[in-house]
């Protein structure tokens, strides 16, 4: 199977988190940071973001569709070199599974 990995463009990603809402909604029917396969790691003050993804991601592309800044994309091997030269970074993969949120809505 063709390997497609998630890339993000540092500086372009604003850290807004719409991708996380899209992922949790598509995959779990709820909106939650915890229940998202894509994880935006933000600096608490500067907001600078690193976009990571967990091992459960099925590459459904919902996060990509939700991003107005076109700061994330999935790419197959032939594109990797070009993207890296253009400043894109491959998203780190987190060994985590989304936890069902116990709290929140009453």
């Amino acid at each position: 199977m063709e390997e497609r990995i998630l890339f993000f463009l540092p500086g372009q990603c604003s850290g807004c988190g719409i991708c996380e809402m899209a992922c949790s909604l598509r995959n779990f029917g709820r909106c939650s940071l915890e229940e998202s396969h894509i994880q935006v790691l933000r600096h608490p003050r500067l907001g600078t973001a690193v976009v990571a993804v967990d091992t459960g991601c099925e590459k459904c592309q919902q996060c990509v569709k939700a991003c107005t800044l076109e700061a994330i994309r999935f790419a197959a091997e032939p594109e990797w070199g070009t993207l890296l030269k253009e400043g894109w970074m491959a998203s780190p993969v987190l060994a985590r599974e989304p936890q069902q949120a116990e709290t929140g809505a009453a």
Partner: protein
């Protein structure tokens, strides 16, 4: 089972140190939707008329809306409201950042806070729990330091903090509350109300989820709205410049309040425009949670008197209030003052507006060096502005007067200084001169919290209203013409109600600036998220209900129709330069049209009985008949 909503709110009594949690009432959700609607509903119910805004029993309410913390575009916003110590009427502010989304994920739609703690405290809200935490060690810290301190002691770097600066601690009425360091809300002294309760901060951390009624439809609607937003004219400009590029337009119109509105064009505007900011100081883009149109940024001032100043959330107001209004052209000082305003917890509009008022009063000999402890006040001096802001926050010397805003200064100083005022109902407007913008002028005059440009945010005055929108608003297409006044009374009333609804969902003003402001565009996602089956007609009524209930609150506090006005400078002294030369505000005919559109009595200011009945507010009537 609630969808969209957390389905729960809390009441915190700081005097007793008690926290109580209550299920949300579906009737309140249907009538007021959330956010600003919830706040006015509870304030009307909880506030005993005539009570001092800083009395312990006065409530201050934080609330989010059904769309907060969801896929909806711009779902990070939060609201806070109370009776204002600056104006004596209601104030509800809408802020950004990440704070709002976390409050929802922590499991609350609203927090009502009353009482006064014996010693400084903060609230730690985390996944259904609320703890009142002792905080004498945070008293005296600025807003950025407070956030860092709470994150460190909670050992959690994802805690989001809404806090006051030293100005709020000192009960300065021209204060706001700052979330995520720089996301301000609550003009008119919400910061002082927190200070009066010995409440330094509200910290939130939520790991919960928001259940969505119809996930597929919510996704579809969110993406549709986002695509629509991306076709609008302001999308690319906001993305590129935030709101800082607008000085061209104000300058052309001659409507940029300069030297305390003595002029409408700032001669040096090109030296401190958005382009200069972008070129010399801009470092990167910042977004509020869930925002498809990030307009915020961070910056550093690398040279000059305060080398190394780091800041964020620059906006058009930064340049207007701390630049043109006080005559400062050195962007380094402007940005320095911007950082200081946020760290001290001052209002970015009222505090500098009062400084500008004082400088003109000094130049006209109304106050002298005795009043300023020897400090010479003159326009264009960034160091003087910085010093006066500092004195305001600490209530030192002349700062004791400035702290209360320009109307209070005029009352204290006399000697005709009231002619230099810019406020309506005691709250200063932004430095957009109302003489150049009739709908904005009317919005300043009728706003439920005093001169706020965001109550109506009448963007139709900048053009671009389509025929179907004009038909929906029941206004002539001439509302697109800036200096025309006809139709703007009705247009402002309509837009005030749109904004009241938007502040309840909550939708950001800039995302829902144009087409997305209309309930027709919002009802789809609201129903997909909540499953409550709202109709467009219901949402129209929600917006109108909120505006009317704020009106009833203010009438009950003694405000009258004579307060829907502007200072005489704007009604009698024409602008002298630019495309608006010769203009004053044609207020009276617009007010006539506005009152007719609202079905409010021009003599008493009260909504008609028929209007109250239509809005299901008859039990809220202030008159004896209503009580019967």
């Amino acid at each position: 089972m609630w969808y969209g909503y957390a389905g729960r709110y809390a009441v915190v009594d700081l005097t007793k140190g008690e926290v109580s949690k209550f299920p949300l009432d579906e009737d309140i959700a249907r009538k007021f939707v959330g956010g600003r609607g919830f706040i006015v509903n509870w304030l009307y119910e909880w506030v005993k008329p005539g009570t001092d805004a800083l009395a312990p029993e006065m409530p201050i309410v934080f609330a989010v809306g059904p769309l907060t913390g969801t896929i909806a575009p711009s779902s990070g916003r939060w609201t806070v409201g109370c009776k204002s110590p600056q104006t004596g009427i209601i104030t509800v502010g809408i802020g950004g950042g990440q704070f709002g989304a976390h409050l929802k994920w922590a499991g609350f739609d609203a927090i009502i806070i009353t009482g006064r703690a014996q010693q400084p405290v903060y609230l730690m809200i985390e996944d259904g729990n609320i703890e009142i935490v002792s905080a004498p060690h945070l008293w005296g810290k600025d807003t950025t330091e407070v956030e860092a301190a709470i994150r460190a002691e909670q050992e959690n770097w994802d805690v989001h903090v809404a806090t006051i600066g030293v100005a709020g601690e000192n009960l300065v009425p021209t204060t706001t509350i700052l979330a995520d360091r720089a996301r301000s809300a609550g003009r008119g002294g919400a910061g002082a109300v927190m200070g009066s309760k010995n409440l330094k901060a509200v910290a939130v951390y939520g790991t919960g989820s928001v259940p969505i009624y119809d996930a597929a439809s919510a996704m579809e609607e969110a993406l549709r709205m986002t695509r629509q937003l991306m076709t609008e004219k302001h999308f690319s400009t906001y993305l590129e410049w935030g709101t800082t590029y607008f000085l061209d337009r104000y300058t052309k119109a001659g409507g940029l309040m300069t030297f305390n509105a003595q002029k409408g064009i700032f001669p040096d505007w090109r030296e401190m425009d958005g382009r200069v900011y972008k070129d010399r100081h801009w470092l990167g883009r910042l977004a509020c949670f869930g925002c498809p149109l990030p307009c915020s940024s961070y910056f550093q001032v690398e040279k000059g008197p305060r080398n190394g100043t780091f800041g964020e959330a620059t906006s058009a107001s930064t340049l207007k209030e701390l630049g043109a209004r006080v005559g400062v052209k050195d962007l380094r000082y402007i940005l320095d003052c911007h950082v200081e305003v946020d760290r001290l917890g001052l209002d970015l509009i009222s505090a500098p507006a009062t400084v500008a008022f004082a400088v003109e009063a000094f130049e006209k000999g109304i106050i002298g060096k005795t009043a300023t402890d020897g400090l010479p006040l003159e326009f264009g001096r960034g160091d003087v502005v910085l010093e006066l802001l500092r004195r305001t926050a600490h209530r030192e010397g002349i700062g004791e007067d400035l702290a209360h805003g320009s109307r209070a200064c005029a009352e204290r100083w006399g000697k005709g200084s009231h002619r230099l005022r810019s406020d309506s109902k005691g709250l200063e407007p932004p430095a957009t001169d109302p003489r150049a913008y009739p709908a904005w002028a009317l919005g300043y005059a009728t706003s439920s919290r005093g001169a706020c440009h965001m109550r109506a945010y009448s963007v139709f005055e900048f053009g671009g209203v389509a025929e179907d929108q004009a038909e929906r608003m029941q206004v002539p297409m001439s509302v697109n013409q800036r200096l025309e006044w006809r139709g703007k009374g009705r247009g402002v009333a309509f837009f005030e109600d749109l904004r009241s609804l938007g502040d309840s969902l909550i939708a950001c003003r800039f995302v829902a600036r144009n087409s997305l402001a209309f309930p027709e565009e919002q009802v789809g996602i609201l129903n997909a998220v909540t499953g409550l089956g709202f109709t467009v007609r219901e949402l129209d009524l929600v917006g109108e209900r909120i505006t009317n209930l704020e009106r009833l609150f203010n009438l009950r506090e003694g405000m009258g129709p004579e307060d829907d006005t502007l200072p005489e400078r704007y009604l009698k002294e024409p602008l002298t330069e630019g495309d608006s030369a010769g203009r004053v505000v044609p207020l009276e005919p617009m007010l006539e049209e506005y009152y007719a559109a609202r079905d409010w009595d021009r003599g008493t200011g009260e909504p008609s009985e028929g209007k109250l009945r239509e809005l299901n507010l008859i039990s809220h009537d202030n008159t004896e008949e209503g009580d019967a």
